[in-house]
């Protein structure tokens, strides 16, 4: 267990020291969300209606930017070989790195989301539920992303490939996330169902993605 927490600590510390990856993700999120109202024109009702969808889609695209590097750096400098000879199984290494990605990339993006909601004229009662759905749904993004990152770790310029691989996997999270916000705003009963499904997708990803990504990494290390 201490090796696991040590790995998570190291990844957070490296992300903090490098800073660039998070800066790019936050900047990209900001730019996408700012550009969209400019493109749609001054229809405040329209913008308010699509605000949750815009914030979610932009989140997924921003997270994709950094997911490609999840294992690449460790692969290139040989760390992955040594990580594989540790007492920690490769599945736990994957889980640790995905957790660190969620803490260092998803959490700051979630923190930025309410601020960007202001720019999109998001209804005041939607902020709480927006943050709640993102906290519940985004672990799936980091953990499913680990599968794509593991599959493309040896691929030069795997960024586009990783998008093609992962975006279909993100569809359930996207649908239930936006559905939950919509249901909460219209006081429909379906909020609980959507929110629980969102949590279920995240929990399933946290269980199923590490073995899948570890299998891909074992193959790539050959």
């Amino acid at each position: 267990m201490s090796a696991f927490s040590e790995l998570v600590r190291r990844d957070i510390w490296i992300a903090w020291k490098e800073g660039g990856t998070l800066g790019v993700a936050l900047g990209f999120y900001l730019v996408v969300v700012v550009l969209l109202p400019l493109a749609l024109g001054p229809d405040l009702n329209l913008i308010a209606r699509i605000a949750p969808a815009v914030l979610w889609v932009a989140f997924l695209l921003s997270a994709l930017l950094s997911l490609g590097r999840l294992f690449e750096a460790d692969f290139e400098d040989g760390s992955l070989d040594v990580l594989a000879t540790g007492t920690l199984p490769l599945e736990a290494v994957v889980a640790g790195k995905a957790l660190a990605h969620w803490l260092t990339t998803a959490l700051p993006l979630i923190a930025l989301a309410p601020l960007l909601g202001l720019l999109l004229n998001l209804r005041p009662d939607a902020y709480g539920v927006l943050v709640a759905t993102m906290l519940a749904g985004t672990p799936a993004v980091s953990f499913l992303g680990a599968i794509g990152a593991a599959l493309t770790v040896r691929t030069r310029r795997g960024g586009l490939l990783i998008g093609l691989l992962l975006l279909p996997l993100f569809v359930p999270t996207l649908i239930f996330g936006i559905e939950a916000i919509g249901a909460a705003l219209s006081d429909a009963d379906s909020f609980a169902a959507s929110f629980l499904l969102l949590l279920a997708v995240s929990l399933a990803a946290m269980v199923l993605a590490p073995p899948a990504a570890a299998g891909a990494l074992r193959f790539q290390l050959q």
Partner: protein, 203 residues
């Protein structure tokens, strides 16, 4: 502990890199893998570390606890140094020590390889030889019986080579096993040489 390799074959891209290889390494002795480029020295080391699957044959450590894989019992120091350039020398060493389950002062291990004065600088500023020394310091940071070293003396200066020899000698005296791929004589105690030839035949 004793390393036994029995009729080992390894395929890569359905080409036989190693075929029917058998040898043993006794406790306290070292085995040098020599041979031309492409003879399979790195492939053998990676197979011993559990990073590559063997297509036929067996390899095991006699006297090791059966639930531990060979990978968990070995230090693998490959071509790449496994160093994070944004972290300082000490942070790199401390991470690997804790990750690999070691204990004790990091400073002593760094001092053995002449890195004590550099521990607070980012690893990005190290020279090639200094990075190599930091990678080799892993051998001292956690106790593991089997050391797999790929070109350990590459980029090392005279003093660092002497330090490496001293560390290996101490490791062997404690009953460890060392398997190293090399192109230059290393002058270690109890060393035997295994000459590998490039396999040309199809599987």
């Amino acid at each position: 502990m004793k390393l036994i390799v029995d009729k080992l074959s390894v395929l890569r891209d359905s080409r036989a890199i190693l075929a029917d290889l058998s040898f043993t390494v006794e406790p306290g002795s070292s085995l040098l893998l020599v041979g031309p480029n492409g003879a399979g020295k790195t492939t053998l080391l990676r197979t011993l570390a559990g990073l590559l699957p063997a297509s036929a044959g067996r390899l095991w450590l006699e006297g090791g606890r059966s639930e531990q894989s060979l990978g968990e019992l070995c230090h693998y120091v490959g071509h790449l140094n496994a160093i994070k350039s944004t972290l300082t020398v000490e942070e790199n060493a401390r991470f690997w020590q804790r990750y690999l389950g070691g204990a004790g002062p990091v400073d002593a291990a760094l001092a053995r390889f002449g890195l004590a004065g550099l521990k607070d600088i980012p690893a990005a500023y190290l020279s090639a030889g200094q990075k190599r020394r930091l990678a080799l310091a892993r051998l001292l940071l956690a106790r593991r019986p089997l050391w797999l070293l790929d070109e350990p003396a590459a980029a090392l200066d005279h003093d660092a080579q002497a330090a490496l020899t001293a560390v290996v000698t101490a490791g062997l005296a404690a009953g460890g096993l060392v398997v190293a791929a090399t192109h230059q004589p290393l002058g270690w105690p109890n060393e035997r040489t295994l000459r590998l030839q490039p396999a040309t035949r199809a599987p």
